[in-house]
């Protein structure tokens, strides 16, 4: 039984490694199948052929693609992502503090949105088809149907422009008091939490509704089990796997949301950096940011899957 479990987890771990390999290769491949290369961007159109050759040699671009991949991978494994094409700074140095900011933003939002959406999702499943459930359903449907920036700009419009309660931009640099801290972080964190909330509520509700329609729930009712016990003892242990899965999937919208939120609030995070790098086609920076994002996402989904496997009831493991 335990060996069966470790086989399952091992298999999931292997799958994660394959995905990681896929991500690494894709990130490298996409940024290297360009007809021209970084020299064009660095030297411009009017460069002499000699200058280009020299530059290519300096950047190692005259090497075969496999060698370049190996050199790049070796660097990545040592935390060395190359230098920005824009300003020549080490990408790793630029990313470091911004990654910290982004994790703070994402972590704080998740800390709010996960418990709130679990509560809303589970309760609306329990009170299915009541007014409470309908209101939540319609509101969340509306929220998953609009792009993230709409929610963020609406928040800015209401709180900063109309009510003048909070600054429209996140000034993370000058935090000296709790008031300043709240002023700087409240809007981005709240908007991001709102963005992820809707998706998570809907998926949690669906998972819970599914569990509540199982025959063993009806059986428990017929045994005279009360509502609290029905939910806590009979439904939740079975719904926990699907719910964790739902949360993990919704976290991808958290990553997407981070990008938009950081731009709207000019928050100094890694996603904002990446958008700027994309606009200026600063490939090494884009590569590094994309890798960081994908690895984070992969870690989250793998973690969620392993928890799901652990929560599977005995004798039902396939």
């Amino acid at each position: 039984m335990n060996s069966q479990l470790s086989v399952l987890i091992g298999r999931r771990f292997l799958a994660a490694c394959t995905s990681l390999a896929f991500v690494i290769v894709t990130v490298f491949a996409i940024t290297n199948i360009l007809p021209g290369d970084a020299t064009d961007a660095l030297l411009g159109q009017g460069a002499t052929p000699e200058a280009i050759t020299a530059m290519r040699h300096n950047l190692g671009l005259d090497q075969p693609v496999f060698v370049r991949f190996w050199v790049w991978l070796w660097g990545v494994l040592h935390g060395e992502f190359g230098h920005s094409l824009l300003n020549g700074l080490s990408v790793a140095d630029v990313i470091g503090p911004r990654l910290h900011n982004s994790l703070l933003l994402a972590g704080a939002s998740a800390a709010i949105s996960v418990p709130v959406s679990l509560f809303l999702g589970i309760t609306s499943a329990i009170w299915k088809d009541t007014v409470y459930d309908r209101v939540i359903s319609i509101m969340t449907l509306g929220m998953v149907s609009v792009p993230e920036f709409v929610i963020a700009t609406t928040a800015v419009y209401v709180f900063a422009v109309r009510l003048h309660l909070l600054p429209a931009l996140a000034d993370v640099g000058s935090v000296h008091s709790l008031r300043q801290f709240l002023a700087a972080f409240f809007m981005p964190v709240a908007s991001l939490a709102l963005v992820t909330l809707a998706q998570m509520v809907r998926m949690t509700r669906a998972a819970m509704v599914d569990t509540l329609s199982a025959p063993y729930i009806e059986m428990a009712l017929l045994k005279g089990v009360g509502p609290a016990r029905l939910i806590l003892v009979h439904a939740i242990p079975n719904a926990i796997g699907p719910i964790i899965n739902a949360v993990a999937l919704s976290l991808s919208s958290l990553l997407g949301g981070v990008v938009v939120i950081e731009v709207v609030f000019t928050y100094p995070g890694i996603a904002g950096l990446m958008v700027d790098a994309v606009s200026s086609r600063d490939v090494p920076t884009v590569q590094a940011c994309a890798l960081v994002f994908c690895v984070t996402y992969l870690l989250l989904t793998t973690f969620a899957d392993i928890v799901t496997i652990l929560s599977l009831p005995r004798g039902r493991k396939a």
């Binding site: 995905s19 894709t26 996409i30 449907l141 792009p147 731009v263 994309v278 490939v283 994002f293 994908c294």
Partner: protein
């Protein structure tokens, strides 16, 4: 296109009609406005609605309505093109995975898993960083991003149908694979796949709007709904229609289709 939809099951009627309406608006809308969407006139910027400019003017004093109709055209047509791409390629691969040799399913399945392990907005950023923001590149980017999802849906559907007895009987009769795919499997996939097209259309609209809002989607002088919001952000302080109306249009577009799909899935 409409003829093709007309034949299909009635379940997703409302969603299909809505999408058809938006495509029609995209095609005909820009012809309805007498203003040139690109013309920078003498008008004040961010003016309110008036008889001359029904929705006021934008940050350069251009007619908002004309720009809006143009923006709808870009958003809807681009997204529809990419949805068609992802759903047809996805359906093709999904059916191929079910009906051909085992390795086809193994390879396509692994590829789809790999693609799905990259968050969509991120993948879009990565591709755009390299291929730029031409219309073709945008359509392809969004098309590729949503292909694995469409592939999974259609593979699951085809798998379920291929296991049903009427397909078994057809195979035992010795029918050819093309006959089984075209006559037995596809007609029964149509309904659920329409729902999938609707969903992916919404996803594309959301993604494109986000990209354009971030400044890495549709580029000036062209305009779509997302980039309209971006360029008129300053108008927020004045409550300008140039910034608010495109937001409302996106919401109406996506919420409407989502509601239509939601109501039909509940009626099962």
């Amino acid at each position: 296109m409409i003829v093709m939809f007309g034949k299909l099951r009635s379940k997703h009627d409302r969603a299909v009609l809505l999408i058809a309406f938006w495509i029609l608006l995209a095609l005909l809308g820009p012809l309805c406005s007498s203003h040139d969407p690109g013309a920078i006139g003498m008008q004040p910027v961010f003016s309110g609605p008036s008889m001359a400019h029904l929705l006021g003017t934008d940050y350069l004093g251009r007619d908002t309505l004309a720009r809006l109709l143009n923006g709808i055209r870009h958003t809807v047509l681009l997204c529809f093109a990419s949805t068609l791409f992802s759903c047809s390629v996805g359906t093709f691969l999904g059916i191929a995975a079910v009906t051909s040799r085992v390795w086809v399913e193994a390879v396509t399945g692994r590829l789809a898993d790999g693609f799905l392990s990259i968050p969509s907005l991120l993948f879009a950023l990565l591709v755009i960083a390299v291929f730029g923001t031409s219309t073709g590149a945008l359509i392809m980017t969004m098309g590729i991003i949503y292909t694995p999802g469409a592939y999974r849906t259609s593979r699951a559907l085809a798998q379920r149908i291929a296991r049903l007895d009427f397909v078994t009987v057809a195979r035992a009769r010795g029918e050819s694979t093309p006959y089984i795919i075209l006559q037995e499997i596809l007609p029964n996939m149509a309904g659920p796949m329409i729902a999938d097209v609707g969903l992916r259309f919404i996803y594309s609209v959301l993604l494109l709007s986000n990209l354009s809002f971030l400044g890495i989607g549709v580029q000036p002088p062209e305009v779509d709904l997302g980039s309209m919001v971006r360029e008129n952000m300053l108008g927020m302080a004045y409550g300008s229609p140039a910034m608010i109306v495109p937001v409302i249009v996106i919401a109406v577009l996506t919420v409407g289709i989502n509601l239509a799909l939601d109501s039909s899935s509940g009626k099962r």
